[in-house]
């Protein structure tokens, strides 16, 4: 209850991981931790869907529906008749 931030769109396929650990560097929330053969998804609920890991992953092992978690931008997009899923612009 009163927590909308439990589930995120982050999806990780460890089989594709080459353990380069760039995701450990770019994630501002420590969502990934080092692993033996592949990095491990440690705190998926902390993910803010910024997309840094996805764009920097050289083997596309990570996917996330990235975007700005900004209600103001999403509401104004909705009011202008755009879909909520479109990329919003910050002002």
């Amino acid at each position: 209850m009163f927590n909308s931030y439990v589930k995120t769109s982050l999806h990780y396929q460890p089989t594709k991981c080459i353990n380069c650990e760039i995701c450990l560097d770019v994630c501002p929330h420590g969502v990934f931790i080092p692993g033996k053969k592949a990095v491990q998804l440690a705190k998926p609920w902390e993910c803010m869907e910024c997309g840094a890991c996805q764009i920097n992953c050289p083997t596309s092992a990570i996917s996330v529906d990235s975007g700005v978690g900004c209600a103001a931008a999403m509401i104004s997009a909705a009011l202008r008749g755009k879909k909520l899923d479109q990329k919003e612009e910050c002002t």
Partner: protein, 336 residues
Amino acid sequence: MDIPDAAPEKINIFPTTSKLSRKNSWDHIQARWGIRRGHHRVIPGLYVLGNPQPSAPVFVTANYTLSFDALRSTLGEMDTYILVLDTQGINVWCAAGKGTFGTAELENRIEICRLQEVVTSRLLILPQLGAPGVAAHEVKKRTGFHIEYGPIRAEDLPEYLKTHQANQAMRSVRFNLKDRITLIPVELVHVLIPLIIAGVVIYYLGGLLPALATLLAIIAGVAIFPIVLPWLPTHDFSSKGWILGMLVTLPFTLAMLFKGAAPVWWLQVGIALALQLALPVVTAFIALNFTGSTPFTSRSGVKKEIFVYIPLMASLFGGGILLALGAILVHNLGRM
């Protein structure tokens, strides 16, 4: 026909220093208060700090004065280069989200500034929060420059540069009290005009107490909410804001009930109830909008909040307004 070789065009490199002037400080204050938004820009291009060797690494930043100044002021006595991308005067994090601090602009700026000719090093140090816009492996493939993501905050750079390794604290975003307070002025400036209009309209309709209650509900959302954010119960911004709104409105509702501010008892009760219904929603709505200023709300979560809470907010707010207008109307009709 022979085309004579054009004289090699001189590479434009701007000198800069790590010292912030009084003019810079004034510019920062204006930026924090939302004054001349969009005018806090640095010319994109290559800057030189001190007297660097061609083997010096290149730091990359956005052409927002607060970003550029945070970087150069922390580099101190270092002799190095700074590559400023054209992010249209937007900070690194927001520009990376938009893609203007991104792979294309970085590659484009490297080419425009002929960076390959200026430096022999092939190392670019980017702020970590620029990563959502930049595919490091792509840039490496196409330009030969290796990207290293430095710490989130420029102030951690000196420590980082000792080993080129960032610890978890440098890699994690924080949003401490000071960070949150820094955001209040610009938020206040945003609501100033609606604040004045709401205050005046409600003063004429309902009197002083409801007008003050409204002002406080708005100010609570803008200025108190960021401060008390971590200590408010529940996780969602809407529910946190609603709780804060209930608390700040309650004294006014009670005063309305017991001080006999209105001529008849039922009008008093009606307006008091209307305040307690409508105003916490205003605080909650402003709180929900604060999600965009924090470094941790995900888009999935915010979307969910909008779907769950906006209909509720609309009903409560509408109910409160109808109740107040109804009570005032019936009272005025009764006097005729």
